[in-house]
C-alpha cells in the first residue's frame, strides 16, 4: 500500500514585506505578470513512498527539504500539484513547537499532546511513559522557562513519539542533543522501523541516510536531482558538493578528504609540547592499513611520537568521531 504520493508538487513563496504583498499580489493576478520576488522552493516533485519504508531526503541548506516536510505534515499547502497521504502523520520537525514558557512541564505535556491530536484518555494512559522517556521526573511542576534547551528537546521528543502514527516525519533533529539522547532517538527509530512504520527523514548527513534509509531522494534547488538506493544518491550528493566548491569545513565532513589525517587540523591543537605525535595509522584485522572498518572488526592503531624530554608515565587516548564531528566513543 502507498503511504505518500506527491504528484508534480510545487511551492512558491513570495519574498516581500506584507505591505507590498497585497499590491503585488493584486498585480500578479493579471495574466502574463510575473513577480520579481517570487521564489519556487519546490518544483515538479514526484514522489511515492510505500507503506513501511524508511525514506531519506538529503540536500544542502536551502534545497527545499523543510518545505517538503512541511507539505507532507500538512502545515503548508503546495501552490501546485497533488498530495496524497494515507495514515496518521506525526512529525519531529521542530520539537516542542507550541511549548509555552509560562506553563509547567506537565501542563505542556498535555497542551502539546492536544496539539498533536492525542485524546485526553490516551495521554492519561501514556503520561507515565512519556515522563519516563524524557527523564524529567521531578521537574514537571516547574515552569518551562526554567528548563534548559536539552530538557525541552527531551520533553518534545518524548511527547511526539508517544503519539500513535503511521507516518513519521523527522527533520534534522537527530543531530542535536547529547550522545545518550541521540542513541535513544536512534533506538526508537529502529524500533519504529521494525514495527513497520513509514518514516521520512530529512538530513544533510550521509551517515544517517546510509544507516537508516531504504530509499533516498536528493533535493537540489527544489527539484529531485537523484533518487534510488542510498549509495547511488550518496555518490551524486558528494559530486554535487564538490561541484559547488563548498567551504573547507563542509568538504572535511563529506568529501573524501581524511580530515583526521590532515595535519593542519591537529597542528592547531596546542599542547604542552613535551611530546608530539607525528604519525597515526590504523590497520584492520588482516594487518592491512586502512581507514574503513566493518562492524565488530578489531582495529589496530599505531602512533609514532617524539618526546623532547623523558616522560615517566605516558598516557595515550584515542577518540573516534562520527562524520559530523560527534563524539562516538572514547578509549584509553
Amino acid at each position: 500500500m502507498r503511504a505518500i504520493k506527491l504528484e508534480n508538487v510545487g511551492k512558491r513563496f513570495i519574498l516581500t514585506y506584507p505591505r507590498n504583498r497585497v499590491i503585488k499580489g493584486f498585480l500578479s493576478s493579471f495574466p502574463g505578470q510575473k513577480l520579481a520576488t517570487e521564489f519556487w522552493a519546490l518544483r515538479g516533485i514526484n514522489m511515492e513512498v510505500e507503506k513501511g519504508k524508511v525514506v531519506g531526503i538529503i540536500g544542502r541548506n536551502g534545497a527545499g527539504k523543510t518545505t517538503l516536510l512541511n507539505i507532507l505534515a500538512g502545515i503548508s499547502t503546495p501552490t501546485v500539484g497533488e498530495v496524497e497521504i494515507n495514515g496518521r502523520v506525526s512529525c519531529l520537525l521542530t520539537l516542542g513547537a507550541g511549548f509555552q514558557d509560562e506553563l509547567t512541564g506537565k501542563e505542556n505535556i498535555y497542551l502539546n499532546s492536544s496539539i498533536l491530536g492525542i485524546s485526553r484518555n490516551e495521554i492519561n494512559k501514556k503520561y507515565r511513559s512519556i515522563v519516563e522517556f524524557s527523564e524529567l521526573d521531578g521537574f514537571l511542576d516547574s515552569p518551562l522557562q526554567t528548563y534548559s534547551q536539552g530538557m525541552r528537546l527531551r520533553l518534545g521528543f518524548s511527547v511526539a513519539i508517544h503519539m500513535d502514527f503511521d507516518i513519521l516525519l523527522i527533520d534534522e533533529i537527530l543531530t542535536v542533543g547529547d550522545v545518550s539522547f541521540q542513541k535513544r532517538c536512534f533506538d526508537k527509530i529502529e524500533e519504529f522501523r521494525r514495527q513497520g512504520k513509514t518514516m521520512v527523514i530529512s538530513t544533510q548527513s550521509l551517515d544517517i541516510i546510509e544507516r537508516l534509509c531504504q530509499e533516498t531522494f536528493l533535493l537540489e534547488n527544489g527539484e529531485i536531482a537523484q533518487k534510488g538506493c542510498p549509495e547511488k544518491v550518496a555518490a551524486r550528493y558528494l559530486e554535487l558538493l564538490n561541484e559547488k566548491r563548498l567551504p573547507e569545513t563542509f568538504q572535511r565532513r563529506y568529501g573524501k578528504l581524511k580530515w583526521w589525517a590532515d595535519k593542519r587540523f591537529w597542528e592547531k591543537k596546542e599542547g604542552s609540547k613535551e611530546a608530539r605525535i607525528v604519525e597515526v595509522q590504523s590497520y584492520n584485522s588482516k594487518g592491512k592499513q586502512t581507514d574503513s572498518f566493518k562492524m565488530g572488526e578489531a582495529v589496530t592503531v599505531k602512533a609514532r611520537f617524539i618526546t623532547y624530554e623523558e616522560i615517566k608515565e605516558p598516557h595515550f587516548g584515542i577518540a573516534i568521531f562520527r562524520d559530523l564531528l560527534l563524539w562516538a566513543e572514547y578509549l584509553l
Binding site: 506584507p18 504583498r21 513547537a97 492536544s114
Partner: protein, 273 residues
Amino acid sequence: MSEIIKQIKDLIQYRHLLWDLALKDIKVRYRTPTLGFLWAILVPLIMVFIFKFVFSTILKARVENYPFFIYLMTAIFPWSYFSSSINAATDSIFSNRELIKKTHFPRQIIPVSVVLADLINFLPALIVMFLILVFFRMQFTIFILLVPLILLLQTIFTIGLALIVSSLQVILRDVKYIVQLLLMAWLYLSPGFYSLAIVANFSEKFLKLYILNPFVGLFTLYRIAFLKEFAETLPSGVNIYGLSAWTIIICISVFLLGLLIFKRYESRFSDLL
C-alpha cells in the same frame, strides 16, 4: 456546507486543545498583574463608572424606570466581553505564528479559544453584575433564565466575527486599526447609554435601519432578562419578536460566514506569517 460541518467537527474533536489554549490564555493574562483575576471584574465596572459620570452626571442623561447605572451595566458588561474578544482575536493568528508554522491542527481553534478565554473571563463579571442587581433591590422575572441563551447567541456571533478579523489580519495588516475604530463606532451606534426611545424620537426611518445592528437585539434581550418589564418600555416601532428573530438569524449567519472566510484564507497562513 460539508466543509463548514468538517470545521465544526474539528472543533469538537480538538475540544481539549481549545480548552487548554483558553486556560493558557487566562493563566498567562493574570499571572503577572498584582490584582490578578480581579481585573476581569474591575475593567467593565470601571467602564460603567466612566460612562455614568460622563452621561449621567455631566450630560444629565436619564432613562425612564431604571437607575442609569443599572441600565448602563446591562449593556456595557456584555459589550466589554465582546470588544475584548475581538481585540484579542484580531492578533491571535499572528501572535501564535510559532504554533501555525510548526504544527498541524485545525487553525480555527486559535480565534475560537481566544473568545472562549474571554467568555470564562466574563463569567465572574456576570456574577458581580447579578449581585449588584440584588444590591439595588431589582426584581427579577422568569426572563432571567434567558441569560445563558443570550450569552450563547452573543458568543456565536463573536466567534464568527473573530474568525473573520483574525484571518483578514494575516492577509492585510491594516485590519487591526480598522477593527479598533469600528468597535468604537459600534458601541456609540448601539443602545448602550441611551434608549431606543431616543432613537425613535430622532427618526422613525432611521430606527428601522438602526435595529439591524445585532447589538440592538442583544442589549435589548439582556435588559429584558435582567430588568423587570423592560419590553414594555420599547418604542412602538420595535417588535420584540421580530427583533429576536433577526438577532438569532444574524448571529448564526455571521458564525457561518466566519467559518467560510476563515476556511478560504487558512491554507495561506503558514506562508504569510
